[in-house]
Symmetry: C2
Subunit: 360 residues, 2 copies
């Protein structure tokens, strides 16, 4: 039996026993908010701290209480039947719960988040999957999945996709990996990924290429995390050199996000490091740039002031301040000025010759 | 030599000869606009009609003229070296063209579109790829790609991905297919796709599942089109029952879009038919719905009034009018009300028992 299943049953049993004794049942849930978060670099992600809220069964809470129990029951069914439900589907299922039905999806999402935090697991482990997927893989990696009908293992060889790629499923907990790759290169744009795939870049450098397609989805982050943990190899991020690439895409990949702090333990990639594009690269490689917009400047200034991750690393403060004083941002595609494959033949080899210089 | 390459050389030669004779060189380009478009159901897509504009070399046009020639030269290089450039990269390359450099990407995009229309090919055939990708595949299909380094064919078996999928590359012209599937099911949401993949739905019905992830990208549409053409099997669309699903996602998949009419020949899937969710399904399956928003109503009314595709089919006018009079829209996930796998066990089998009833 999975830990999640045990935990659901244990929680349900406690509540049942209280009711049978004529006592008021209650649940204890971690407070999910930025003021209940800390960043410890030795742990490597935004962590939820001790604050808890108690939900006791009263006239005022009866509906939420019932909804939470029904959602736990649904989760139990999902785990036992090896099935999945998207958050949207979970909302629609409740339409059959009569008085306990949800009016709007944000209500059911909140209850799922509460259960996730209460059980200390991630949503995918209790059968709920996000609506969106994302993340493609090519290179020196064999993914081991299994056939639902036969239970037999399926080996997926990511060197055998030609110009295509392996699309990461929405839930990745069950996957296993085999690889002798030396690192994972996590790439922001589909266009740059396609260039590196087209030229079999993974062969040259013995690596695994992953396209994040902007801010990586939960499944994509979890996939990279499990990959890096199980193969014990580093992850290098290659994103646009702008405040969004650094403070949103890279920061979320590495330490998680503030408003989902109860999950970051699972969805962060603390071993990630920032290959580029850095503000210094603009100067070193004479790259064409764009002026920072007001929204870029605001994002960088906010991060310097409020983001516990940026505030922890002097190197990041210096890099963001350099970007602000240059007043310029730069894109991954900018290397094309020097020839389409300059990025493959010159930039990446030069950078990869000394990963110790990567930003933290 | 590819047709595109021949055509580039032929065009360049004509211009060169005119210059050598001391005459003013010119190019003839189709007018790309909605008022130069028609819909013939026998052809199956929005077609560009005869109007052409002539771009003659004068003091006023010298920059655009030079840019068009340089872009044609870049395209020639790309084809000859079997390389690709995203539209963004093409823009950055021009930063080395001195006076002929583009100031903003929309300028270079327009020139690429002009060349595409002039040569009567699609952008991918002349080496330019879109920035975004999209589209995942699972089921009874073998995709045949080739290894860039060895030239050897690579067979990609889409039944062997477990819970994952094959991610469609940005350019798909070179792919070949092997399959004994009976149809392609093109699905709007990643969540529904994941459900059907998780339950090996393609095994039960001998089909190919494709996730479009909203309005399908060019690569995704072209992939479905080539698949359906080469295997000679029908394509069934399974999208949300709302004006966006019908008038944007499905309409674009089937006949293309108005503002890219010079391309629809390549990027439409005339053999597509609409499985659901139809407004009638709301009643037949007692589905939970949402009220139409103002934007939904406007979209449906616009389509009834202006969209040549909708205006051609009485069945679509009736369906949209039924939706407007119900005042309701419905999502793919709504079947979950009757149980998570109702869609697999009941809805899809009932629908697929009579594809002749599908909307056109």
């Amino acid at each position: 039996m999975t830990t999640a299943l045990k935990s659901i049953k244990q929680n349900a049993r406690t509540i049942r026993e209280k009711i049978l004794k004529g006592q008021k049942p209650s649940m204890r849930l971690p407070v999910r908010a930025l003021n209940n978060v800390r960043y410890k670099p030795s742990h490597g992600f935004f962590e939820i701290t001790g604050k808890k809220k108690e939900r006791t069964l009263t006239v005022g809470t009866v509906k939420t209480f019932a909804q939470t129990l029904r959602m736990m029951a649904l989760s139990k069914d999902l785990i036992e039947n090896d099935d999945i439900a998207s958050k949207r589907e979970a909302y629609y299922i409740s339409k059959n719960w009569r008085d306990a039905g949800f009016k709007e999806q944000p209500e059911s999402d909140t209850v799922i988040d509460d259960i996730e935090a209460m059980l200390g697991v991630n949503r995918e482990q209790i059968g709920f999957i996000p609506e969106e997927k994302g993340g493609e893989v090519a290179g020196r990696l064999i993914v081991i999945d299994s056939d639902r009908d036969t239970g037999k293992p399926i080996k997926i060889d990511c060197t055998r996709f030609g110009s295509g790629a392996y699309s990461i499923p929405i839930a990745v907990e069950h996957l296993k990996f085999e690889s002798k790759a030396k690192f994972v290169l996590a790439i922001e744009t589909a266009g740059m990924f396609q260039r590196l795939v087209k030229h079999n870049y993974w062969k040259r450098t013995n690596c695994i290429l992953i396209s994040m397609g902007g801010v990586p989805t939960r499944a994509c982050r979890r996939f990279i995390r499990r990959l890096s943990d199980s193969l014990n190899i580093p992850v290098y991020a290659f994103v646009d050199g702008d405040p969004y690439g650094i403070c949103n895409i890279y920061r979320t990949l590495k330490v998680g996000s503030g408003n989902a702090a109860h999950l970051n333990k699972f969805f962060c990639v603390p071993q990630a490091r920032f290959l580029g594009v850095t503000p210094q690269d603009i100067l070193d490689y004479k790259l064409p740039t764009h002026e920072l917009k007001a929204v870029d400047i605001k994002r960088a200034e906010d991060a310097l002031k409020n983001d516990p991750f940026i505030r922890h690393y002097k190197a990041w403060q210096e890099a963001l301040n350099q970007m602000l004083s240059l007043g310029q941002r730069v894109e991954q595609q900018a290397f094309a000025k020097h020839g389409l494959n300059y990025v493959i033949d010159t930039y990446l080899p030069e950078k990869l010759s000394d990963p110790k210089k990567f930003l933290p």
